[in-house]
């Protein structure tokens, strides 16, 4: 009944609109300087304020009277105006501009809004960034380019994953990844946080990237949206001659910086000296080797190349047999395991449109990166076809199709404390190069604690690890436009990813030794389908009133089938990993997961003369991740006022072009919790229990309690925005202030032990993120020959924990740091990312100080750290744990400059982070001779000894005998992680058209791109932009450095040719 009324009402309205729609029209085609048509450009009648969107083939038609002025605009092009006069056809050629003037914001679900009409906070990645960088993955382009978007890649591994926060971290244990939407379809990815989730997308295929930031924009995506939404639009064919583009870039890279360590001989000398001076004090220290009086010790011998050279064969064999030393001159491990990186990109595309209403874009891309560490790299082969076909006046169809094969080589996201880079920097240079087990230990290994060291070179060469994935995405849509104001679209997409990850640890490596070689294989198939019918309404009535609405139904299902298989006990390894047929499968674990979401989305926008704009949206989601409370409603409202359109502002129109206020409120959700967390589950265990009658299979209940009441966490956010444009928008300024509060946080809380479970996910707790974002785009100089554009953004975010489910603090242990638990605490009133530890107060220098210093768990020794005894009880314990590191930045931002002179172009982009601390866990290795560590090269001037007590670091014996573990979480390890990175420098030259004419080349550009040229920072290690943490809580451990794989500096040379 209700339905009928709605339908009748709509029909009545249609009739009404049709009756008033009568006027004579101006038509034309809009092209660019290359005579290509610009579809989706806009034409506005400045008199009537009416706006039309340029359709396929670049054609427009708009009602106008002779006195009216038409304004033509298109993203990335200069505004142009024409007076209608007597003309009925006005063809326009727009000239490019590097500043987005009246850009179209793509929100997904087919919704495109002129920036002028936008009521919410969004950012667009500017064209220069997309074109001028040479990224392997799009995530590199996003870094620093948009205010409020904070991306930190895990490390410099090719294809490494990254963490991305839009407007701060709004969750604790639930996932914090934003939703990525590609051509209206939520992007499916299964790679996990170790791998770059965007690796399947070729950056060259991308037309635009829009970032939806405030809740009034993202509420459209409901339960997927509380971490922000990134909307990616791929390229389409444009009317004009078929265009054929070839682009090639090749370059090499190296480490931005290296850390100086002791040379092998210095190392040996240092160690020899330590033995001599310390052995008397500490019995444990001298475990390895005390030379007999009068004889040169092993280390003294090794420290002297001349003596080593004199050794006869007998002496060498004694050294070999007795100490296991064959590597008498030592090795520079870093040199042995690193190489110059090589990046290359080869891209081929052709596009165009026919008069028959077909437009097409096809591309083939190849990207290849050889990593800094030998045997590591990333390669991608991708192909895309985008087809649009107009069927008749009403119907049209589009097909987007992509296939990508990506392959990683080497260990990705290897954050073990002894990963290859960390080992290479700080390993005893005398470990034998080609044998990590057997005789290399013993005398060489002074630590004597646990397993001996392995040669990083040998390890890197022997280990075979990789991941390859075939990613297919097909996305088809059929749309009908039965009425001018009505469009019905049926869109459906399928994504299929088959990935295969294997790691082969040969029996020559330690982990593979006892099991006679090990291969782990993860074979996974991901299938997602999305079904998305939608209705769009767009109608202007009574001249000044315009409504547009979008109604969407979306059904989505993701399923993943995975099998993890482990093989061990190789009979032979002559074929490396391919000897697998001689091995035994020791474990197979299947995993099936399945997520379904049903959504109903409605969005409605109304504006009056484009001056007062009002938007409302609502979305109902029903998610299979929850058991009882599956449904959520996510409404939003927002409004904008274009002040400059008011008559009373006319006086300012000479210098002001835009003044716009925006205000919005919206609700979004987050359901990123482990699947089936609400259902009590058991696993068929891969362990058996051996009764007399044989092995019994076990069903093991999961340790996490299944809370069937959980539902999504909810973020409510306000956004206040002010957009200013000066001098016909030559300078634009966009500012946003936001205040988001996340409630019902999905928190993995510890349960009482007597429950039999460890934890449960509950909806509890609250976090707020407030912030300010400023984006400035300026066309500083715009002469015919010389242009200078600047893009600048800065953002401030303040994170605050409001509620932790009734407890004052929650403790977490940063992954892999060892030492005391709970070095990361979440405390009410503070922000996430605060590390706790003790404050260091120099060293214990004398017996007097020793007797008078506060005790740690045991007595102090001379040469040990002293810590500040805050409560004066004479004992250093948990009471002395105070915040020592604040790892969230005060502000971050980026600045890009583009200079163009004739055919030359220069683009330079810097980005920064200010006010964040980094917890440098490498310090423990680099400054303390422990086990087989090599040391940072100025160490001998920094370590305490009895003769030189004015030093910064603990004496060797103190370290050796006492609490290595308790060394974590102390103020020494915290460093300022602020940095300014020269991310991109690109110099391009477009060959003059007249040179190319004869070759039938329409354009040709040569370029040189430098990536990551330098980093200005006080941080002492490789790179302050680091994120070593892994696992479900990694978001809580920002700014942790545990020997991360350093980023490379690249220089690439490229050529782009268009026929």
């Amino acid at each position: 009944m209700c339905m009928k009324k709605v339908a009748l009402l709509i029909i009545a309205v249609i009739g009404f609109f049709n009756s008033i729609a009568q006027s004579k029209t101006v038509t034309g085609v809009i092209r660019n300087e290359n005579a290509q048509v610009l579809e989706s450009a806009t034409v506005q009648n400045l008199t009537t304020k009416k706006v039309v969107l340029v359709g396929k083939n670049g054609q427009y038609s708009i009602e106008a009277s002779p006195k009216d002025v038409l304004q033509f605009s298109f993203t990335g092009y200069e505004l142009q105006t024409e007076t209608v006069g007597s003309k009925s056809v006005i063809n326009v050629v727009l000239t490019p501009s590097d500043i987005s003037l009246d850009a179209v914001v793509v929100s997904g679900y087919g919704i495109k809004t002129f920036k002028k009409d936008q009521t919410s906070a969004t950012s667009k990645i500017d064209k220069a960034s997309l074109e001028n960088t040479a990224p392997v993955n799009i995530s590199e382009v996003l870094q620093g380019r948009a205010a409020g978007v904070n991306i930190v890649s895990n490390d410099g591994t090719p294809g490494a994953g990254f963490s991305i926060n839009i407007r701060g971290l709004a969750t604790i244990t639930a996932g914090s990844s934003p939703l990525i939407v590609v051509d209206n379809i939520p992007y499916a990815n299964s790679a996990g946080d170790a791998f770059n989730p965007l690796a399947a997308i070729n950056p060259n295929d991308i037309e635009s990237i829009d970032i939806l930031k405030d809740a009034s924009a993202t509420a459209l995506y409901g339960v997927g949206a509380s971490n922000g939404v990134i909307v990616i639009t791929t390229k389409q064919g444009k009317t004009g001659k078929p265009k054929f583009t070839f682009s090639s870039k090749v370059g090499i890279g190296d480490l931005v910086r290296t850390l100086g360590t002791l040379s092998p001989q210095e190392y040996a000398a240092y160690r020899a000296g330590l033995y001599r001076s310390e052995a008397g004090d500490n019995a444990g220290f001298a475990t390895t080797y005390i030379p007999k009086p009068g004889e040169p010790g092993l280390w003294e011998l090794l420290s002297n190349p001349a003596e080593v050279a004199k050794l006869g064969i007998d002496s060498k064999s004694i050294l070999n047999n007795f100490y296991g030393v064959t590597n008498l001159t030592g090795s520079n491990w870093l040199d042995l395991i690193t190489q110059n990186t090589v990046r290359q990109f080869q891209d081929l595309s052709f596009s165009g449109a026919t008069n028959g209403g077909t437009s097409y874009f096809a591309s083939l891309g190849y990207a290849d990166e050889k990593g800094t560490v030998i045997n590591s790299g990333f390669r991608r082969l991708s192909t895309r076809l985008n087809l649009d076909q107009k069927i008749n006046n009403i119907f049209s169809a589009a097909l987007k199709f992509q296939y990508t094969n990506s392959a990683y080589k080497g260990l990705i996201g290897d954050n073990r404390a002894d990963n290859a880079i960390a080992q290479a920097n700080f390993l005893n240079p005398f470990i034998n190069r080609d044998n990590i087990i057997g005789n290399t230990e013993g005398a060489i290994n002074n630590g004597g604690q646990g397993a001996g060291p392995e040669s990083p070179e040998f390890r890197v060469k022997q280990l075979e690890a990789g991941r390859s994935a075939n990613w297919f995405n097909g996305n088809i849509s059929v749309s009908a436009k039965p009425l001018k104001w009505l469009e019905l679209v049926l869109q459906a997409g399928v994504t299929n990813e088959d990935s295969y990850r294997d790691t082969y640890t040969p029996s020559l490596l330690r982990e593979g030794q006892n099991v006679k070689g090990r291969v782990d294989i993860t074979d996974r198939r991901d299938l997602r389908w999305v079904f998305q019918p939608r209705i769009a309404v767009n109608k202007t009535f009574a001249k000044n009133h315009r409504i547009n609405g979008t109604f969407v139904f979306e059904g989505r299902k993701d399923r993943a089938d995975q099998a993890f298989t482990r093989y061990e006990q190789f009979g032979t390894e002559v074929l490396g990993i391919n000897s697998i047929s001689s091995a035994q499968s020791v474990r197979t674990t299947p995993l099936y997961t399945d997520t379904r979401v049903l959504s109903y989305i409605g969005r409605f926008q109304y504006d009056f003369k484009r001056k007062y704009i009002f938007t409302a949206s609502s979305r109902i989601d029903e998610s299979s991740r929850f058991v009882r409370d599956k449904r959520g409603v996510f409404p939003s409202v927002s409004a904008a006022w274009n002040v400059m359109d008011e008559r009373f502002m006319d006086f300012a129109s000479k210098f002001m072009s835009t003044i716009k206020f925006r205000v919005g409120y919206g609700v979004t959700g987050n359901d990123q919790i482990p699947l089936n967390a609400g259902i009590p589950l058991g696993n068929i265990s891969n362990i058996f229990y051996p009764f007399n009658s044989g092995l019994t299979t076990l069903v093991n209940p999961t340790n996490r309690f299944a809370n069937s009441d959980i539902t999504w966490e909810t973020t409510r956010g306000y956004n206040f925005g002010l957009d200013l444009g000066f001098l016909k928008d030559r300078i634009t300024l966009s500012t946003n202030y936001y205040n988001n509060t996340t409630k019902n946080i999905l928190l993995d809380v510890q349960l009482p032990g007597y429950s039999g479970f460890t934890s449960s996910i509950v909806n509890s707790g609250s976090i707020s993120n407030k912030g300010l974002e400023i984006e400035i785009a300026s066309s500083n100089i715009r002469s015919k020959k010389f242009k200078w554009n600047t893009n600048f953004n800065i953002s401030f975010n303040r994170n605050k924990i409001l509620d932790l489910g009734g407890v004052p603090e929650l403790g977490f242990r940063a992954v892999g740091t060892g030492g005391l638990p709970n070095d990361v605490l979440l405390r009410l009133g503070q922000s996430i990312g605060v590390y706790y530890g003790t404050i260091q107060d120099g060293l214990v220098n004398t017996d007097f100080e020793r007797y008078n210093s506060a005790r740690k768990t045991q007595d102090n020794n001379n040469g040990e750290f002293q810590f500040v005894d805050l409560n004066g009880d004479g004992i250093i314990d948990r009471d002395e744990y105070v915040p020592i590191a604040h790892t969230l930045p005060i502000h971050t931002g980026g600045i890009g400059n583009t200079l163009t002179y004739k055919g030359f172009e220069l683009y330079a982009f810097f980005r920064w982070s200010f006010g964040n601390d980094v917890v440098n866990n490498n310090i423990n290795r680099a400054f303390y001779l422990r086990g087989d560590n090599n040391l940072i090269d100025d160490v001998s001037n920094s370590i305490w000894n009895r003769q030189n007590q004015d030093r910064n670091y603990q004496s060797y014996s103190a370290i050796f005998t006492t609490r290595i573990n308790s060394l974590f979480s102390r103020s020494e390890m915290v460093e300022d992680g602020s940095y300014l990175r020269f991310e991109t420098l690109r110099i391009g030259y477009s060959l003059p058209a007249k040179w190319l004419k004869n070759a039938k080349i329409s354009s040709a550009r040569l370029s040189m791109t430098g990536q990551n040229l330098f980093v200005l920072t006080r941080y002492s290690w490789y790179d302050p932009e680091v994120n070593s943490a892994t696992g479900i809580n990694k978001g809580l451990f920002p700014g942790l450095d545990q020997g991360a794989y350093p980023r490379s500096r690249f220089i690439l040379f490229g050529v782009d040719v268009t026929f």
Binding site: A279, P680, P690, Y754
Partner: protein, 711 residues
């Protein structure tokens, strides 16, 4: 236009209609590779899968593993310095409610308890429904019985450790149930402990009625339940009579006798002829069945269920997997490493005192140092030159054959390189070096760690074994303990020489069965006095070599400044040395145990006839009780936290540990207080350290719980 109207209508109608019903069916995810426990456990087969996991939980370091023996200090056991266990607050007896181990032991037990809880609930719901087949009914009985046994066993651990523990008897499915758990107020603490004992007795009694008579390896049977029932009654009786002085415990002692007598008279169990066979994988299930309950390990159970892995032993000193190759090379053969289970520290006087003063001479279960006295040497004799004294010889190259429990192992490197002879050496001129090890490559500056090695990987050639990972099973209840418990309960009722009511043996007879077995040893008739006993690259010593180092004075060593008591005299030394010789003669010189070793009893040889004498029937009740407690330690050392539980049920843990605190370790010549470890052990000898506090975080999360007295 008309068709358009219709189209619009249809689309809109479809759109709005789609919103009305929640598509619950579509948005319910499929579960394929996991099990929805809401719908599981309804048949004996399914419940059996859950039961397997309930057993598997016992393979936990905190339940039956090495944690207790390494981290719980008693008068005879101080955790090894330099290990994490020595730094544990429990070991130092200054634990509080916030201690991590206090929580871990607690949580692991309750996690294990949740498994039988689920099974018992399912058995109640599905095991008694009418129409079940007889076979299903019987299966349900057995499954429920096993679950009840496991739950009783786990609560028995908990109540002895924590006393005032909440009784959880359901598998939680709602958060609110977890919050509602309540406990008795602090003032009624003993009543809560009593309730838990009643709960355990109820579970074990029901289990004993439901379980089959025939023992099956690894699974609880009727006599498993009865043995533990006897142990629970004995414990409760001792608590009443000695710890709390709240009664005479007679009823419980009688109940203990009644339960234990059923085990004894069942005829299912007997002592193994040779004591060490209880701990050697290949022998555990050969010969007599002494095991009433064991926790099982098996190489083929998926790679993670091996002794050492689930039980925590893998972290033993020296038990590092990657050493195998080096060891094999050093041994000159394809012999892999030989690790055991370690618990004790040489420098801990409790342990040393125990070994020197309490272990009886010649007791084969005792510390195998044997030459346990000092011998001064001339500079010539001293392996490293200079003035040194050899005190004990602890390790020989025949590690494969000997039943010893104790040996010195040092850090991984030394052990790996010269896994040969260890002599303990000290130089009087080097006061800061307490004692040393003579390794093949001779570093006298090291402190070896003396450790219990009761469970050894043996034979070394066992397939698929690496490091400390092998397939031996952990004995949790042996027949020997049943005999000792029987003797204890009987003695409490009527003294040592009277058969208790309902019993069949006198206490003395019961304990002497255990004593007699201790005299059995592997006999090698071909060995002679001059056989080479020690062999490695650097030193080749024979028995004669040792005797050449005749002490030159009556006082073997003098104590450090200020000490007064000389301990061992030359006479003692000589005497012990000869006994030592007799013993080592029996074992030395052969690297492998013969396939069918001859087992002989000391009594058959005049030189050793006096070793391990029987308990005399003329002992008084008090003497018998004291000797029996020591006999329990000798027999059960390192098994199931025996000593700690014994002392706590008698309420004497704190006084006993205090008593040894000032005793001097004859090797290190230091008291416990003078060691690194001693600075914090028992600084506050508070009786509360006889048990553990309820973990703080439990009370923080549930205000209904009450803290134990004193914490």
């Amino acid at each position: 236009m008309n068709y358009m109207n219709k189209l619009i209508k249809i689309v809109f109608a479809a759109f709005i209609l789609a919103q009305i019903p929640a598509c619950t069916k579509f948005t319910t995810a499929e579960i394929k590779t996991e099990i929805d426990l809401n719908n599981f456990g309804k048949s004996p087969i399914e419940a059996g899968l859950l039961l397997g996991q309930a057993y598997n939980e016992l393979r936990n370091n905190n339940i039956t593993g090495s944690q207790f023996y390494r981290a719980f200090t008693t008068d005879y056991n101080v955790p090894a310095t330099g290990t994490t266990f020595a730094q544990s607050a429990i070991a130092r007896m200054n634990h509080d409610a916030g201690d991590g181990e206090v929580f871990a032991i607690w949580a692991d037990h309750y996690k294990a308890i949740s498994r039988p809880n689920l099974i018992i609930e399912r058995a109640k719901d599905f095991g008694y429904i009418p129409g079940l087949s007889a076979a299903d009914s019987a299966n349900w009985r057995r499954i429920e019985g096993e679950a009840r046994f496991l739950r009783g066993f786990l609560y028995f651990n908990l109540v002895r450790l924590y006393r005032n523990v909440p009784i959880i008897d359901k598998f939680f499915t709602e958060l609110s149930q977890i919050d509602n758990v309540s406990n008795m107020p602090s003032s009624q603490m003993k009543e809560q402990e009593a309730k838990v004992y009643n709960f355990i007795i109820n579970d074990l009694t029901m289990a004993s009625q439901m379980l089959p008579n025939t023992p099956e390896r690894g699974r609880a049977g009727k006599f498993t339940a009865l043995s533990f029932l006897g142990k629970v009654h004995l414990t409760r009786a001792t608590i009443a009579k000695y710890r709390d002085n709240s009664g005479n415990g007679v009823e419980d002692y009688k109940s203990a006798i009644a339960a234990l007598q059923q085990v004894i008279s069942s005829g299912q169990y007997a002592l193994k002829t040779y004591y060490p066979d209880n701990f050697i994988r290949d022998k555990q299930y050969a010969g007599n069945n002494e095991f009433i309950f064991t926790v099982e390990f098996e190489a083929l159970d998926g790679g993670s269920g091996r002794f050492g892995e689930n039980s925590g032993f893998i972290n033993n000193a020296g038990a590092v997997q990657d050493l195998i190759g080096a060891i094999a090379g050093a041994n000159g053969a394809s012999v892999a490493n030989d690790f055991g289970w370690s618990a004790f520290d040489f420098s801990s006087p409790g342990d040393i005192v125990r070994r020197f003063w309490t272990f009886e001479d010649g007791d084969f279960r005792s510390f195998e140092t044997n030459g346990r006295f000092g011998l001064q040497n001339t500079a010539v004799d001293c392996p490293n030159g200079g003035d040194c004294e050899i005190y004990i010889r602890t390790r020989e190259p025949y590690q494969f054959t000997r039943p010893y429990w104790f040996e010195a192992v040092n850090n991984a490197n030394s052990f790996r390189y010269r896994p040969a002879t260890v002599d303990i050496v000290t130089g009087p001129g080097l006061n800061n070096r307490w004692f040393s090890t003579v390794w093949g490559d001779g570093n006298p500056n090291n402190t070896p760690t003396m450790q219990l090695v009761k469970f050894r990987r043996n034979p070394l050639t066992q397939a698929n074994s690496t490091g400390a990972i092998f397939d031996a099973d952990i004995p949790v209840m042996r027949y020997a303990e049943v005999l000792l418990m029987y003797a204890e309960a009987g003695n409490e009722l009527n003294g040592p020489s009277i058969v208790p009511v309902g019993g069949s043996l006198t206490p003395v007879a019961a304990v002497n069965i255990v004593r007699d077995r201790a005299r059995n040893f592997v006999y090698y008739p071909a060995l002679t006095v001059n056989s080479r006993i020690i062999e490695n690259n650097a030193y080749k010593l024979t028995y004669a070599d040792i005797f050449r180092r005749v002490p030159t004075s009556n006082v073997v060593y003098s104590l450090a400044q200020g000490a007064t008591n000389p301990v061992l005299t030359l006479a003692q030394a000589t005497d012990t040395m000869s006994k030592y010789f007799n013993q080592i003669c029996a074992f030395k010189g052969i690297r492998e145990v013969p396939p069918a070793p001859t087992i002989r009893n000391f009594r058959e040889f005049s030189a050793t006839a006096g070793f391990v004498p029987d308990f005399s029937s003329s002992l008084s009740q008090v003497q018998f009780r004291n000797d029996l407690l020591d006999e329990r330690w000798r027999e059960l050392a390192g098994e199931q936290n025996c000593r700690w539980y014994d002392l706590t049920r008698y309420g004497t843990l704190i006084s006993r540990v205090n008593a040894i605190k000032s005793q001097i370790n004859p090797l290190t010549r230091r008291t416990l207080a003078a060691t690194q470890f001693g600075t914090s052990v028992l600084t506050e000898p508070n009786p509360k350290f006889q048990y553990l506090p309820i973990p703080k975080q439990e009370i923080d999360r549930n205000k209904n719980l009450n803290q134990n007295e004193g914490f």
